[in-house]
């Protein structure tokens, strides 16, 4: 019978009801090699301290709920494994650059506002009735945007982006990647309508290509690519508006 191994998990605690400064609390958690950081947190909540508060849901890296800072790096806690840190302590904190509501839970509302602001839906290039069936879209056309449609809204990229950290008006990686996803979809004709946001200081120009977002993204969405390939388009659009102003704009 193998002896139980223990690992120390140090967790950021903050309680809005006490308003006291945050502190770290360390728990000793029995673990097996297959356990994720999330499972460690669940053990703490179920057996040691029910007040530890964190988000989670699917446990398979598709819902985007469980993003945390693990030893200072943004990770999905459901697919980050304790065995990769053992025997060292694991430090778990809420995603950086967001206000902390409680313990490991951040305030996501700014992101949701940003997401809604990019018009993240198909504005049809041409109308088609349901009876006419699907829009025809070849695999090559789908490839133009498919990668950017993989975003699970986990917010690791916002935790990685210092521009967002320094300036909350920046639309941010995931929202801008989603904007690009729709612009690049052959069925969509809304590029014009989204241009104003793209061109703005808080649009693509807020990005200085730190590039950490693309590195931490668990789904290889590459938001840095989505944003930066739009800078030349944005510059061209700005130039063209200057040269050929649109009436009534």
């Amino acid at each position: 019978m193998a002896e139980t191994k223990f690992i120390e998990i140090e967790v950021f605690r903050y309680n809005p009801e006490t308003g006291l400064e945050p502190r770290f609390q360390t728990y000793k958690v029995p673990f097996t090699d297959d356990m994720s950081v999330l499972q460690g947190l669940q053990y703490i909540k179920d057996e040691l301290d029910g007040s530890l508060t964190f988000r989670w849901s699917c446990r398979m890296a598709i819902c985007g709920s469980c993003g945390k800072m693990v030893n200072g790096i943004p990770h999905l806690s459901c697919k980050t494994f304790l065995r990769d840190y053992y025997p060292n302590k694991v430090r778990v904190e809420p995603l950086t650059h967001f206000p902390v509501e409680r313990d490991l839970c951040i305030d996501q509302s700014d992101f949701l506002r940003k997401l809604e602001s990019v018009k993240p839906y198909v504005i049809p290039r041409e109308e088609r009735s349901l009876a006419q069936g699907e829009y025809v879209q070849t695999p090559a056309q789908m490839q133009e945007y498919y990668q950017y449609s993989q975003c699970i809204n986990c917010l690791l990229c916002y935790a990685a982006c210092p521009q967002y950290g320094l300036n909350k008006s920046f639309t941010g990686p995931a929202a801008l990647a989603l904007l690009h996803r729709y612009n690049a979809d052959s069925r969509d004709g809304g590029r014009e309508q989204r241009m104003e946001l793209v061109n703005a200081e808080e649009g693509v120009w807020g990005c200085t290509y730190v590039g950490y977002c693309s590195q931490v993204c668990p789904k290889q969405v590459d938001p840095a690519h989505a944003i930066n390939q739009n800078k030349s388009a944005s510059a061209l659009d700005y130039f063209m508006r200057f040269v050929m102003p649109r009436g009534g704009e």
């Binding site: 007040s51 989670w56 849901s57 809204n153």
Partner: protein, 589 residues
């Protein structure tokens, strides 16, 4: 307590809830729609669905084929009028999603591709790689942003319905971040709260799938129907229960035991070749595949691993290119959570609880017996799944009936009498008091203690194969757990703000009630049909006695009260349910 006056409340922001909200907004933009969800919508469990969504498109397919596959898949317990409506509207909903941007996988000519799925005669499963639920959910969520009449209340936990004068007049919800109570006064409520798989220990479900809507409906005298029919998905990872999609088998994957033998041929699903072949071997229905595993495990022919016994899902013959194109999520999941590369090694899988066929009783218009209350999606029993659900019928269900629910709720809300504001407020106050009581309790058990015992009782007593003794034991244990829960759970967390332990205590209350309905419904159905199978007696289907729906009502302080209602048969009288047999090799697309 804050009061919100609205027209329609949709509870649950998953596929069904979002589709219902959009439908209501389109039906009548003047109506105020409050979408109340305990998680931000894109976290809803729809996101984890993988394989695809059914809709007849091929020339060699027909609504009759889809109907037949569904009714026989459900072992003739389906309400055939509901199935007729369902199959007639699947394709239109899939097309609507495509128009809204859903990236369905395409053929070379740019038209939508469809693949084989278990129990289906012809390819009709639309798929977006192996992340169909993810893409559907994000498409619906992002599309819902277009409608200004949809007001979202993200991370609001719906804890109770308000029923006054024998009709629904609102819901009571907790704003999770603050613990503040919100009373929504509404004329119509649509429950889209999902299934109850977390009642079992081994399940593919997210933590949020706790049967909240089912529990709430039950408490207000709304029946739950056919709850004994629980689907075990045959291929989930051991330990976590993470789902490995049926799409793997739709692409030609095979299941072998520890001897490398395709064991399904021993259970009436063979012969093994030619492969792939529709409705045979690995493309048989889920209940039969899960039952086969159970037998193999009993015979000692499964592979032992530290996390449980498994069989091997072999995808190697598909080749790396096809695996990357069609099954990218599975590749990632297998590598991350099982440490296995499907290109070079088989994936270790075993059955896990996946879907709740039964649910809140409603008709084909999604109306429950309680006026003003609608139900759609996994939380409902509209009658299309019967005793066993076919894969890819659930993603189709949520949009077909989500739309129906939104439509009907909107029409009802437009014409309904206004809400009795004072009576609703008083009821809200007393409901709130009961919920807040959890926070104040000084003595009691840990939530996890009662929850663990419940999960174990269900696994042992109401599993894939059932016995009289086992089910009775489960009923008895659940009654005791219900009492222990009533005597009180004690929380470590005394906060009002962001107290998720408190929410798990409330969810546990729902789960215990739903679990009891499942156990008693199972115990009383003395026949084997679909996913409800007896081990040692009653092993055949008994249409004389049991071609009926199990309808359960809350029994107050005692066990649930069960009665039976007829199944609606239209075109397809019950026949033998047969899979396997000879046949041509299927051409995969």
């Amino acid at each position: 307590m804050q009061i919100i006056d609205t027209d329609i409340v949709v509870v649950g922001g998953g596929g069904a809830g979002l589709r219902a909200a959009i439908a209501a907004a389109e039906r009548d933009p003047a109506l105020k729609i409050s979408l109340v969800s305990k998680v931000v919508p894109m976290r809803s469990h729809t996101v984890a669905a993988e394989g695809g969504s059914a809709g007849v498109v091929r020339e060699d397919d027909s609504l009759d084929h889809h109907f037949d596959d569904t009714v026989s898949g459900g072992d003739w317990l389906c309400d055939q009028d509901a199935v007729e409506y369902f199959v007639a509207h699947c394709t239109e909903e899939m097309t609507q999603l495509e128009h809204w941007g859903c990236p369905w996988s395409r053929k070379a000519d740019g038209h939508v591709n469809v693949r084989f799925f278990g129990g289906m005669k012809v390819q009709r499963t639309w798929f977006a790689a192996d992340k169909s639920g993810f893409h559907m959910l994000h498409t619906l969520f992002q599309t819902s942003i277009k409608y200004p009449s949809i007001h979202r209340y993200d991370e609001f936990f719906c804890a109770d319905l308000i029923v006054e004068e024998a009709r629904v007049q609102g819901v009571l919800a907790i704003e999770i971040a603050t613990g503040e109570f919100f009373l929504f006064r509404a004329k119509a409520v649509v429950l889209c709260t999902g299934g109850a798989g977390r009642i079992y220990r081994q399940n593919t479900n997210a933590g949020i799938v706790t049967g909240d809507g089912m529990g709430i409906a039950l408490r207000h005298g709304v029946p739950l129907r056919d709850m004994e029919f629980i689907q075990w998905h045959p291929t989930a990872l051991a330990g976590t229960g993470v789902l490995i999609t049926e799409g793997c088998r739709g692409e030609g994957g095979i299941l072998v035991n520890k001897d490398g033998y395709r064991y399904l041929q021993d259970y009436g699903l063979g012969p093994p070749d030619p492969w792939p072949r529709v409705k045979a071997m690995e493309l048989g229905p889920r209940d039969r595949l899960s039952q086969a595993f159970w037998h193999e495990e009993r015979k000692g022919r499964t592979v032992h691993t530290p996390l449980g016994n498994v069989v091997h899902l072999d995808l190697r013959h598909l080749g790396a290119a096809k695996l990357h194109e069609r099954l990218p999520l599975i590749m990632e999941v297998a590598r991350t959570f099982a440490g296995v590369d499907p290109v070079t090694a088989p994936i270790p899988v075993r059955p896990a609880v996946h879907y709740t066929m039964g649910g809140i009783l409603c008709n084909v218009r999604t109306e429950t017996p309680l006026p003003g209350l609608y139900a759609a999606g996994e939380c409902s029993s509209v009658g299309i799944h019967g005793a066993n659900r076919l894969g890819s019928n659930s993603l189709a269900e949520i949009v077909v009936f989500g739309k129906v629910a939104g439509d009907h709720a909107a029409r009802y809300a437009r014409d309904a009498r206004p809400v009795d504001g004072d009576a609703v407020r008083r009821q809200g106050e007393s409901a709130k008091a009961a919920l807040v009581a959890h926070l104040r309790r000084e003595h009691g058990e840990r939530v996890s203690a009662i929850r663990n015992e419940m999960m174990d009782a269900m696994e042992q007593g109401v599993g894939i194969f059932r016995t009289a003794g086992g089910m009775q034991a489960a009923c008895d244990t659940l009654a005791r757990l219900r009492d222990r829960y009533r005597r009180g759970v004690k929380l470590d967390d005394r906060n009002e703000a962001f107290n998720t332990e408190w929410l798990t205590a409330i969810e546990l209350g729902f789960m215990l009630e739903v679990a009891e309905v499942i156990a008693h419904s199972a115990r009383l159905r003395t026949e084997s049909r679909g996913a409800h199978t007896w081990l040692d007696q009653f092993q055949a289907r008994d249409d004389e006695a049991f071609l009926k729906h199990t309808v359960a009502l809350r029994g107050g302080d005692g066990p649930p009260r069960i009665h039976y209602e007829p199944v609606t048969i239209t075109k397809s009288p019950p026949k033998a349910r047969v899979y396997g047999g000879e046949g041509k090799k299927a051409v995969l697309t």
